[in-house]
Symmetry: C2
Subunit: 260 residues, 2 copies
DNA sequence: CCGACTTTGTGCATGCGTTCACAAGCGGTA
DNA sequence: TACCGCTTGTGAACGCATGCACAAAGTCGG
């Protein structure tokens, strides 16, 4: 199901062993480090659902309600929330706003994360026009492309820069997240440039496996892979239907008639 | 990576569709059912890497080489491949073409999967223009939108239809995969219509948790969630850097000097 | 103030996925 | 032919994530 796991042995590289004698809220840091990757992804989903509820004036919610809206098991939801602390009230549920603010804090959404999009083709346009990305907190502050005809033209309110300026501009605008929406052959080179510009988080839309140093976090969104996973399920369904129809009752999966 | 090791003997095993479309092999079905979801996702990646190698004239590859190119552990790769059968040669490695054809077969890429895209906004345009999706086998055969101004206009070679025609057209064109690229509020309704049109696989780009019957497979691509996961890692890094610099040694994370 | 009811938080068991390590098997070589 | 080195395939151990089930802890009505 889920994507790149690049945090393979990051923990052991750092000084994992010593107890952090930090003054300011050491609990948060240890907690943040301990949250499973899968749970982080779900927390983001809970956050969106909760935000929607808050907009509709809902102030309190139980784990049961929230879990249904988020499409997960109630117990799993409670465990996920427990990773960030105990902010519920037994017998009552959770305060929506309290939960929102705590999830935002854990996900690091209290600060803004400046985003740069590289490759202003169809997809790049779409991304730039999203306008600060769904759910504020991710302002797109820089766009890059190799095509000179595009340079200077504003897309989604931001002028496109030539890719050669990537290092200077990323440093200047403190870009913390780079989005790669280039054709496959350019992706690795663009990635290298982003990394050397100090960008440590990359979202990659190019169907290429990027090679990066350990300290850089890559997440990939791969349409071809998604389609092929779906294709696999189509095929599996077809096979199952075929198996079933050996002892045929005229009905395939979920009651649809199989035509001869 | 070694280039062009000719091994014609093995290549001849593959009769381009004849031998691969084996007459009712029940082992395949049980195997396909047993393949872990995570492994399926990786198989799609291996497939792409292998296709690239084949295009460059590489005919044989070892698990070590392939695993590096795909960015995974070598043992994991071998286990993944073992799910689909034993098609390697000990002491030598794998024949690229043989592997390609077997992975394609398991992923169900031997047949074409007709795709419908719903919601022809920025993202919908980008998707339609991908043109049959990277790596053939997924022809986009239908586009839908609510906007009457868009209806009839061809995008990526296919005219846009009004969403009310979704059921008829999906059935007629045997759409097996539906892609939802609508604004969030419309997503669930579109999803319901796709399902009632018999579409059993859905790729959802809308930031909404879709409710579907058990027999429908949904995969979601959620930009906001991806960004927030990256944000989490940024925050975690910042915290770690802060922790380390308490007992300061002049070095921050991964050896970069922290300026005073 | 008490008891009944509701919902959280979590220890524990279970299952899945990853990793290790090595025997089995194959090609090349003398 | 017999041996040697290389690579696959996989049994087994490990670790992580999920789901269950229940005690703890709170609210509400009387």
């Amino acid at each position: 199901m889920k994507h790149t796991r690049r945090s393979e042995s990051v923990a052991s590289q750092r000084g994992e062993g010593e107890t952090t004698t930090t003054p300011a809220e050491p609990a948060d840091r240890e907690r943040a480090r301990a949250i499973p990757e899968a749970a982080v992804a779900r927390l983001a989903v809970y956050l969106r659902v909760l935000s929607g509820m808050a907009d509709q004036g809902v102030t309190a919610v139980s784990s049961e309600e929230l879990s249904q809206a988020a499409g997960v098991n109630a117990a799993k939801l409670r465990k996920d929330l427990s990773y960030i602390g105990s902010y519920g009230t037994r017998g009552v549920g959770y305060d929506v706003e309290v939960l929102v603010s705590h999830i935002e804090r854990i996900l690091g959404l209290t600060r803004n994360h400046s985003v740069a999009v590289v490759g202003i083709g169809n997809l790049g346009h779409a991304l730039a026009n999203y306008g600060g990305f769904p759910g504020r907190g991710f302002p797109v502050t820089a766009l890059f492309d190799v095509d000179d005809d595009l340079v200077g033209i504003p897309v989604g309110g931001i002028p496109v820069n030539h890719i050669d300026e990537i290092t200077a501009i990323c440093v200047e605008r403190e870009v913390s997240i780079g989005v790669i929406a280039t054709p496959p052959p350019a992706a690795q080179s663009v990635c290298d440039r982003l990394v050397s510009a100090g960008v440590q988080c990359i979202l990659n839309f190019a169907p290429v496996v990027l090679q990066v140093p350990d300290n850089v976090e890559v997440r990939k969104v791969d349409l071809a892979v998604e389609m092929q996973i779906l294709s696999f399920h189509v095929a599996r369904r077809a096979d199952e239907a075929a198996s079933v129809s050996v002892g045929n009752n005229g009905l395939g999966v979920d009651g649809m008639v199989i035509r001869p």
